[in-house]
Subunit: 156 residues, 2 copies
Amino acid sequence: METATETPWLTAAEQQIWRSFLGGTIVLNDRLDRDLRTAHGLSMPEYEILVRLSEAPDRSIRMAELAAAVSHSRSRVTHTIARLEREGLVFRGQCSEDGRGVSAVMTDKGFARLEEAAHTHVRGVHSYLVDNASPEEFAVLGQIMQRVITQLGGQC
Amino acid sequence: METATETPWLTAAEQQIWRSFLGGTIVLNDRLDRDLRTAHGLSMPEYEILVRLSEAPDRSIRMAELAAAVSHSRSRVTHTIARLEREGLVFRGQCSEDGRGVSAVMTDKGFARLEEAAHTHVRGVHSYLVDNASPEEFAVLGQIMQRVITQLGGQC
């Protein structure tokens, strides 16, 4: 008799890869986060938000769009923006275009802080991740993760 | 004149892959976490800790070793274990062997909860990650992340 479940248990090899993935992403994010905090007083989520703002027209993004862009919850982004605002790196204001919704806007001080922090962050990404893969391997990593986003992105 | 910095800026393609990696790991972990919470009242970090305990001799691991095994900070593991203890899934006690340090021990109730939750979790890992890669691609993912752990693991 087989059990009713059809759970596709992982093979030992798959389990090992899954654990490497979990453990690797944790130590990578912890290290990038620690490097940014130590050198620039920014967390990784704060850094990511500053990057998105720096690339937006008028360095301004609606709060709801910002949450979607960095794949964080709305409440988490609100909390992060509040902290960046206290440091004078962003401010919140009404959208000028249509008067609907609140936007986060990056200040000149925020842009300057990002420019400094980018050196630390990019050096870390290179040294801890890019340099640990051949260009072909790195491309495979991107393809897999892009498929994950395509599958799950719209459901979060 | 070149600037003094030697920061190895990412190419557009590398930047895209890095963003897919960041975004993909976030939506994947969020979804696995949500599936476990909804169906079994467990978070991903709680699930990981139960897995490690289930595999240990006497289903018991010293708190310090547990933190290292799941790549979480000691304070975070203490907090997670306290919550699992309130639910009766683990308890904390002195190590019987040598009387040194405190261990987390999984209860039968904890083991039963893990057995149920494992179906949900493994189905998710398969559907959201393994099935998004060929076996060769999945192996590449594991190799890259294992190198990251080897490089950074001892420093966190």
